[in-house]
Symmetry: C2
Subunit: 329 residues, 2 copies
C-alpha cells in the first residue's frame, strides 16, 4: 500500500485531497495540516484549515463556498452581534460552533490539538490521517500599513502593524499590501505527534495547490519538517496554485509579493526550490514556463490544473503520482 | 422612590418580577439572583436562574416553557450530539448558547460574574438591577440513592451519591427521593458586589413564589445575606410557592422533603421563620392555614396566588406590597 503524505492548507488542499482519495483509493494518506491560521474567537479555538479538510473529506462541507458547514444557520452569530460581541467579519455558523466548542472543551481539559483532531475525525471519518503540523501555538501574522486600517499611527509613531492572518484574509480580503508574513511561534514549535514519522515512512510527498506562503510555507516553517522532507529520499511533487499568473483560489498573489515571489507557476516552484521539490505540475496555460522550472532542477509537466470537479481533481492527483513515479525511477 | 429587593430563583421568580414591575412601575427594584443552579456544560458557564430573569424581563423568554429563548433553534446541540458530546438532557438552544459563550469569554478574561451579568443586562434592559447572590462558585448538589441511578454502589460500597441539582431536576425530573440538598461552596462564599448594600437600603424585601430550598434557600445560605435581611429593619414579605399542598411550578415538594419540611404553604412560612419573615401570602385555597402562620408570628393573608398572566401577577405583587406596608406600620 502506497503511503502518501500531503501538506495541506484549507480549500485548495481539501479539494485536492478529495481527488487524491478518488485517484488512489487504496493509498494510506496522511495529511499534515496547517494550523497557522488558527484563531481564538469568542473564547473558542478555531482551526479553519483542519476543519476545511475534515468537513470536505467527511461530507459536511459547504460546497459552494468551500469552507464551513453545509445547511448552516447563524443564530449564535446573530445573538453575539446583538450582545455587541465581535468580530462580525468571521462567519461562524451554528454547526461550525459545535466543532469549536468540543475542541475548546477538550483542550481546556488538557488534550493536545492532535488528540482533539483525532477525536473530531472519529466522527467525520475523512479517510485520511489528519495531523496538525504542531500541537504548539503558531499564529500567522501579516504586516500592513496602519494607514490601510484607517488607524492613526501607534504611540511610537509606527506606520506598520502586524495583524492576524484571518483579519488580513477575511476582514480586509487581502486588499491591502502585505509587507511581511510571519508565522509567530513557529521557530519554537515542534512537529506534532506522528508528523516526522509519517514523512520518514512516506513513499511520496505531495504539495497540493495550497497557498505556498501561508499554508504550505507555514507548515515548512516548523523546525524539522522541511528538513525531514528534504531528507526523506522519496519523490516530492507539488501542484501550482497559480494558473495563468493568478491564484486559482484565494489571493495568494498578495502574500507571495510579501515574500518577494512573483505570482507565477514557475516562481512558486523556484521558491520551494530543488532542495525540496523533485517535481512540479503547472497548468497547460503555463506550459511555456516548464523549461524555467526544469532549469531550476525540478522536473515539470503541464497538465490541466483546474479542480472543477472530483474527476478533474483526481486526474491532477494521478498526474502528480505519475510524475512522482517518474522522478523516483 | 420605593426600593424593593427581591430574592429570585428561575421561572417563579422571573414571572413574579414581571408582575411586580407592572404593579410598581416607579420602584427601584434590585433582584438578588440564585446562582446555585449554575452549571458548566460543554466548557461554558451556564446560569439558568439569572438568564431566566434576564430573558423574561427583557422580552426574550420562551413564554410557554418559562425558560430558554423564544424562537429557539438547536443546531449546536444536535451537532454536539453528533460528536457524542453530552449531556443531551440539558436543552441549550443556539440563541441561548450565545449568552453562555459571551459569559464564559468574559469570565475567562477575568471579569466576575456580577460584571458579566451587568454587561449581559445592558443588552436585555430588564428594568431591574440583577445581582448574582455571589461571585463565588456555589453549586447545589442533591443526595440520592445510587440505586435510583441504575448505578452500582461506589467502590466503597456507598449507596448514596451527590449529583448536581440540574441533573436531579432536569435529567431525573426530581422523580427520585432527595435525601439532602447541599449548596456546595456556599459556606465560604461572599455576597456579590452590591448585595448587602441593596438589602441595607431596601424599603421592602420580597420572597417571590420561588423554590424555598434550592432558590431562596440557596441565596440565604450565603453567609451574611440572611443576617442582613433579618437586621434590615424593613418589612420582609413572602409569597407561597405551594398552593393547595402542591408546588405551583416545578417540583418543590421533592426538595422540601429533603430538608424535612412539609409541602404546605404554612410549613414553608414556618421554615423561613418569624426571625426572617414579617408577612406571608397564601393562596385562597389555603385560607385555612393562615392562623397557623400567624401563630408562628408571621402576618398572613390569603389571596389568589396563581400567576396566570401579568395582571394576576401584578395583583399578587400589590397584595405583597400592601402586606409589607401593613406590617411596617
Amino acid at each position: 500500500m502506497e503511503r502518501i503524505v500531503v501538506l495541506a492548507g484549507g480549500i485548495g488542499g481539501a479539494r485536492f485531497l478529495r481527488g487524491l482519495k478518488s485517484a488512489a483509493p487504496d493509498a494510506d494518506i496522511t495529511v499534515i495540516g496547517n494550523t497557522g491560521d488558527d484563531i481564538h474567537l469568542f473564547g473558542l479555538k478555531v482551526c479553519p484549515d483542519l476543519d476545511t479538510v475534515m468537513y470536505t473529506l467527511g461530507g459536511g462541507i459547504n460546497e459552494e463556498q468551500g469552507w464551513g458547514r453545509a445547511e448552516e444557520t447563524f443564530a449564535v452569530k446573530e445573538e453575539l452581534a446583538a450582545y455587541g460581541v465581535g468580530p462580525g467579519w468571521f462567519g461562524l455558523g451554528d454547526r461550525d460552533f459545535a466543532t469549536h466548542i468540543v475542541r475548546t472543551q477538550m483542550m481546556s481539559a488538557g488534550y493536545p490539538l492532535s488528540a482533539v483532531t483525532e477525536a473530531l475525525c472519529s466522527r467525520w471519518q475523512p479517510g485520511v490521517t489528519l495531523l496538525p503540523m504542531t500541537d504548539d501555538r503558531v499564529e500567522t501574522h501579516v504586516l500592513i500599513d496602519t494607514a490601510d486600517l484607517d488607524e492613526a499611527p501607534g504611540d511610537g509613531g509606527e506606520s506598520r502593524k502586524a495583524i492576524h492572518f484571518q483579519e488580513y484574509w477575511v476582514r480586509l480580503r487581502a486588499k491591502v499590501d502585505a509587507h511581511a508574513v510571519v508565522p509567530v511561534g513557529a521557530e519554537s514549535a515542534k512537529p506534532g505527534p506522528g508528523v516526522l514519522d509519517a514523512i520518514a515512512q512516506a513513499d511520496v510527498i505531495l504539495f497540493p495547490p495550497s497557498n505556498p506562503v501561508v499554508s504550505v510555507g507555514t507548515i515548512l516553517a516548523v523546525p524539522g519538517i522541511r528538513e525531514a522532507i528534504a531528507e526523506a529520499g522519496v519523490p516530492v511533487v507539488g501542484l501550482s496554485p497559480i494558473v495563468g499568473d493568478a491564484p486559482v483560489h484565494g489571493m495568494a498573489d498578495k502574500v507571495l509579493a510579501a515574500v518577494g515571489v512573483e505570482a507565477t507557476a514557475a516562481a512558486v516552484a523556484q521558491h520551494y526550490g530543488s532542495g525540496l521539490l523533485d517535481g512540479w505540475l503547472v497548468d497547460t496555460v503555463d506550459a511555456g514556463s516548464t523549461q524555467a522550472v526544469e532549469d531550476a532542477g525540478i522536473r515539470c509537466r503541464a497538465v490541466p490544473l483546474m479542480m472543477t470537479d472530483t474527476e478533474a481533481t483526481a486526474a491532477m492527483a494521478r498526474e502528480a503520482l505519475a510524475l512522482a513515479a517518474e522522478v523516483g525511477a
